[in-house]
Amino acid sequence: MKKLVSTLLATAMLVGLGAAFAQASSHDVEIRIPNVLQLRIVNGAGVAAASGPSVTFDFQGDADAYLDTVNGGGGELAPTSWNQFDNVVVFSNRATWSVTVSATAIVFDNNYGLAGMTPNGVSLADIIVRPSGTTETNVSSRASSWDMTGGTIASGVRTQGWRRLGFGGGDYRFAVNGDENPGTYTTTVTYTIAAP
């Protein structure tokens, strides 16, 4: 009798275990996609430079170019040099995005030490960009020119990678007409990408 009870118990346990074995098993998957809105000023190698990119109009070093333009009634001058600034690239996984430009107020340095010299004739509207390059896929629009007073310069859709906006330091221009007081004028220009 005792043996029969033991056998029945063992059988019940086996059947119980069998019933407990799941035929299916599930697990969760969680995916978190970041909000990517990135913009970089890159050098000729397509890499964001470790040191800051810059554009320089040094007419102290090339006074003739300045004088000739002024003598001709005014015009736009190309930069004398630019550094680590061959293009601007953007990356976005937002449905739409736009890039704006802004600049800090111009700072004047009377570096020649001329008596009573004050800044004159140079404004943010005199610093202009006229893009010479082409835009890449998913850059929907780009202004044909803009100055440093600010505004939207480009827009697009999901870029699916880094996309060039098609301008660099060599596309900057400085508009002169001869009313500029001598000295050094500096500003910091910022490009910003944003999505609605």
């Binding site: 056998t7 998957v29 909000n35 699916q160």
Partner: protein, 198 residues
């Protein structure tokens, strides 16, 4: 004289009869026709809360780099998902997989990411392989599969596994394919593996 010898003769006869007797009884053992499949943790226990996580919010550069470098992302975390094991006593058996539609929470519409962007490349990251006894000659197991909402057969076999045996993959073998067109936000699904014994 006769009476004096009778009792010993009777005793001997009784003893002789007892030694020749036999008795029998039945033993009934019911082995269950069980089949089982379980996701297990590092300790070999059923992986409660098994999860595969791709948290690219905490490392956006990894997301950007992945898009530029071929578009594959490995999980940033795997919990309680060290192996998938099956136990089949006998007969033909199959393993199937399917997933729930992606649930999305974020500022966009959830465009750009599909279930098919979740791929299992068996053993590539985990280093696991199906135990030799798991898949016998004539059986088969896929090397990789993308997730869908329909049941998809990934294993076919016809013999007993003789116990719990590994299918040779775990959460580390999951891969997320990204292209950069994914709406930012959080996506979730539940993946189910099903063992059948037709």
């Amino acid at each position: 004289m006769t009476l004096r010898w009778l009792p010993p003769l009777l005793v001997a006869a009784v003893l002789g009869a007892a030694q020749a007797q036999s008795a029998g009884h039945d033993v009934s053992v019911r082995v269950p026709n069980y089949i089982g499949l379980k996701i297990v943790d590092d300790g070999g226990n059923i992986g409660l809360g098994a999860t595969v996580r791709f948290d690219l919010e905490s490392d956006p550069d990894a997301y950007v780099d992945a898009i530029l470098g071929g578009g594959e992302v490995r999980p940033t975390a795997v919990a309680s998902f060290a192996d998938v094991q099956v136990a089949v006593r006998g007969g033909a058996w199959r393993v199937w997989v399917r997933a729930q539609p992606l649930a999305y929470a974020g500022p966009g519409s959830g465009a750009g990411l599909r279930l098919a962007d979740l791929v299992v490349r068996r053993g590539t990251a985990s280093g696991l392989a199906p135990e030799a006894i798991t898949i016998r000659p004539g059986g088969s197991i896929l090397g990789s599969w993308s997730l869908t909402t329909s049941w998809q057969r990934i294993v076919t076999d016809n013999q007993s596994t003789n116990g719990w045996r590994s299918l040779g993959f775990n959460g580390l073998d999951y891969v997320l394919l990204v292209q950069g067109d994914e709406d930012p936000g959080r996506y979730a699904t539940v993946v189910t593996y099903l063992l059948t014994n037709p």
